[in-house]
Subunit: 295 residues, 4 copies
Amino acid sequence: MTDMTTGDHGEEGGRRFAVTGPDRGADSSVAATGRAIRVTVWGENVHERNEPEVAERYPTGMHGAVAEGIEELLGERAVVRTATLDADADHGLSEEVLRETDVLTWWGHAAHDQVSDEVVERVHRHVLDGMGLIVLHSGHWSKIFTKLMGTTCTLRWRSEHDRELVWTVDPTHPIAQGVPHPMVIDEDEMYGEFFDVPAPDELVFLSTFSGGEVFRSGMTYKRGHGRVFYFRPGDQDYPTYFHAGVRRVIANAVEWAVTLRPRRETPVLLRHDTEDFYRGFDYTGALDPSARVGS
Amino acid sequence: MTDMTTGDHGEEGGRRFAVTGPDRGADSSVAATGRAIRVTVWGENVHERNEPEVAERYPTGMHGAVAEGIEELLGERAVVRTATLDADADHGLSEEVLRETDVLTWWGHAAHDQVSDEVVERVHRHVLDGMGLIVLHSGHWSKIFTKLMGTTCTLRWRSEHDRELVWTVDPTHPIAQGVPHPMVIDEDEMYGEFFDVPAPDELVFLSTFSGGEVFRSGMTYKRGHGRVFYFRPGDQDYPTYFHAGVRRVIANAVEWAVTLRPRRETPVLLRHDTEDFYRGFDYTGALDPSARVGS
Amino acid sequence: MTDMTTGDHGEEGGRRFAVTGPDRGADSSVAATGRAIRVTVWGENVHERNEPEVAERYPTGMHGAVAEGIEELLGERAVVRTATLDADADHGLSEEVLRETDVLTWWGHAAHDQVSDEVVERVHRHVLDGMGLIVLHSGHWSKIFTKLMGTTCTLRWRSEHDRELVWTVDPTHPIAQGVPHPMVIDEDEMYGEFFDVPAPDELVFLSTFSGGEVFRSGMTYKRGHGRVFYFRPGDQDYPTYFHAGVRRVIANAVEWAVTLRPRRETPVLLRHDTEDFYRGFDYTGALDPSARVGS
Amino acid sequence: MTDMTTGDHGEEGGRRFAVTGPDRGADSSVAATGRAIRVTVWGENVHERNEPEVAERYPTGMHGAVAEGIEELLGERAVVRTATLDADADHGLSEEVLRETDVLTWWGHAAHDQVSDEVVERVHRHVLDGMGLIVLHSGHWSKIFTKLMGTTCTLRWRSEHDRELVWTVDPTHPIAQGVPHPMVIDEDEMYGEFFDVPAPDELVFLSTFSGGEVFRSGMTYKRGHGRVFYFRPGDQDYPTYFHAGVRRVIANAVEWAVTLRPRRETPVLLRHDTEDFYRGFDYTGALDPSARVGS
């Protein structure tokens, strides 16, 4: 079978190509099987434990609110679990959990530095393998996001009950479907530009705030075989993750972030053999007249 | 109901936003109903009539071969019809046909100038409304493609039985799924850079040829509410449209190009009312403390 | 001499490449000679003639104010002339004028449809040749801009004395140098998203308005051999073109838009010869062992 | 003075903006002063010491050949120094050296893992500050490049005397000026796709090889306040860095990579004050009629 990752290719009926058809055999991907998307919602769960008003606002934790939103909108199309910083030594993100996660969502703020480097490496590898990653709000400064971006991921901010308007600038994007234009969030923390991230592959949303600030609020990135979506709204001091529009965006992003590839695997370094496409110094390839199609 | 296109927005339970949920009501889109994709395969059908060897190579026309490939791979997921230059005064592309077309594929070469400007305007409008468009090979110089690109769409070429290798540079892209890396086309016309088109939104495939030339061979563009995919392989002098990999790409592109929006409509110019988000000189918005959530 | 446009290449000292060095011979480009940039500022000049308050605001016309700003900031680095709709049958944009224009700026609003199609074709060809184009504000709906974009170029608007803040999101871009972050424009017309244009090559500025709207306010596009910059601020009802920051952006854009290529020429269609890189069926190229460098 | 980085802004003549004019005061940037570009060419210098044939091919080291090429083409416009892995504990890249480096070029291959993490952090910080970085060939797998990209940066390769053709796909790009189309490199190592890097900001060159492989060979990235260019050609086993075209590209890239900003500084996290643009719950801003321009 032809393998896009390794560059190997096989022979099939005497042709040098093979096309994976609608039946993808042992392929257990969501695309091939129609099975539910396995979502892991990761939450730092520090503010909820330390600040009564946050605990009151988010009785099941912020991760609980995010998970409930996904379940509410995707129903049987998703199976959602949560994991938190203090779950275990792996912050609930063991190799086994990640291997069985199609899409991971990430919210952190007060304890970015408490996330172990080993777990960050593991999550990074799974993203490059093809696991989807949705980074929410203050996750902009998480180890995993800065590692994927390669920049400081710094920005401007203010938590003073700004009204946020989220505008769609890519109206055909899957993540924007069913999202009001604009989406009004009555109160939220403000994030402003300059946001030090690479120019995104796709700019989907822009947010404006009462103070007149602006932020690139929904952005997609491909990294390795994985898809990454950054989404700005959501803060411990506001009930943002109960907002119907915010939930719609996150649910859309979950569906968008699922890999379509038949299996998870990291891009690797490979040597191309001279017996392959390259025929060395007696190179002829398709140029041999007798080999021409139709002749 | 909030409407992304018009920027109108309504009131729903006292909130200023509304989110379209899984049930999209009167929405008759492919996404909402799961109905088959309505594909119209347009072919110029000039070489087939004038050149016996082309007629022999493509007994049902090049459009016939493209249509059969889509049917073969998408099965019940697509309903395919064909249309040709000489079908009628509209080249088979009346308002009614286009309104009932989710995705149009376009192949032309010898008679670009015989396509009526009125039909080109009509197709253009439908693309901006949300109809998908797949432009094949020599369609690079069609009126509709140059109109959408705004450039000359010129390139280098040679028809001397080059071997073409099509390489994937965006392995997570939907259009690249199931496509060999590389895809080997034993013989095809050569197209080389510089290809005078805007930088694409996404670069999916690159082709190389026996002579060492290179071409950006699979590129996506969003225009208005429509999605456009240009795909290089395919020429009247080679049996390219029977190639399993080429057919896979075209079938994938058909599925990708279908709009996800609930209805077709052109982006329009609109005035935002001062009674809307803008509150004039006594602007208060969410800044009124008594209006705060949770207060 | 090797020629990037035609794909021709010559022999130089037995090598198949030639590199144009610091001395570019007959090259009369700005880059090679350091001569002043020849700028033509085009203004529709309709509001100024019909509305006394506009005439009072812009005593030398809006084109006059734009031209003065460029002269003020670029000094001897630019030679600026103006042209208007009613200058002559060519709206002051004859073949000769355009041939001697390095960068054209365009402001129009009330009379887009009075611009002759012939002039639009001419300007379009010169942009594809390498003439820089800066489209200002309501020029978004001009024939030349919609022709270059391929979309409707529609947007949302309101003229109610909104305050505009212009934020830089690409702080290393040449056009952003010396521009405040944010740039405050006390009053201007509002433009809001969705702005129906292709995703830009580079997004440089975002504007927000009193009403909370947002707009992609500074965007670059390459088309053919030409560089295009769209810049939002500027309206007949506000003194925007006297604003020091707006003038800085336009002056920067003039310098950015000048082609670096040694001459102006449209990309063309060309056939690659089999005697060229392609050696046909006895293809050997560098693969002949005796031809190896160092052997 | 308004400062794009910090978001601070001052008052100047009663206006809330300030524009840096042609005279930029204490600004010691290349743009403001016209001084020579300070280039540091970093070479691993391992193959040259261990393999006699490499030492013979590159008598002054590969870094020597790269440095000579820059000096040859930029003359007095550049001051070039070199640094190598074994120069000192900092590999010749102390804080002081980097602070006085406008553009750093990087070639490494056999000893990526011997580059100290501390130096990598230092180089990374300087890139985000605004130092230009040009990564050459096998530097694709260096610690600094993978850190900036966030991906594996893996690829396909073969060292069998392939002929390389370098094609320009962005003919107006500064780095492509004076570069033949195609540029012929008689022999070089082959690199093939899939190259696991983020989609570039700009794709400038594509390379093809005797074996039919293709590679995105010249790509630009902005990271923080810095500009990064990756350029594929160049290997210890071939005399690539004496090639006039390769030298032209590197010299062009050096000029392109110099920051235009008045000083070097990392993007930082900042809080926007409520006394700033945001006026809190009695927000009025420009909306106060008495504050209107012209009233």
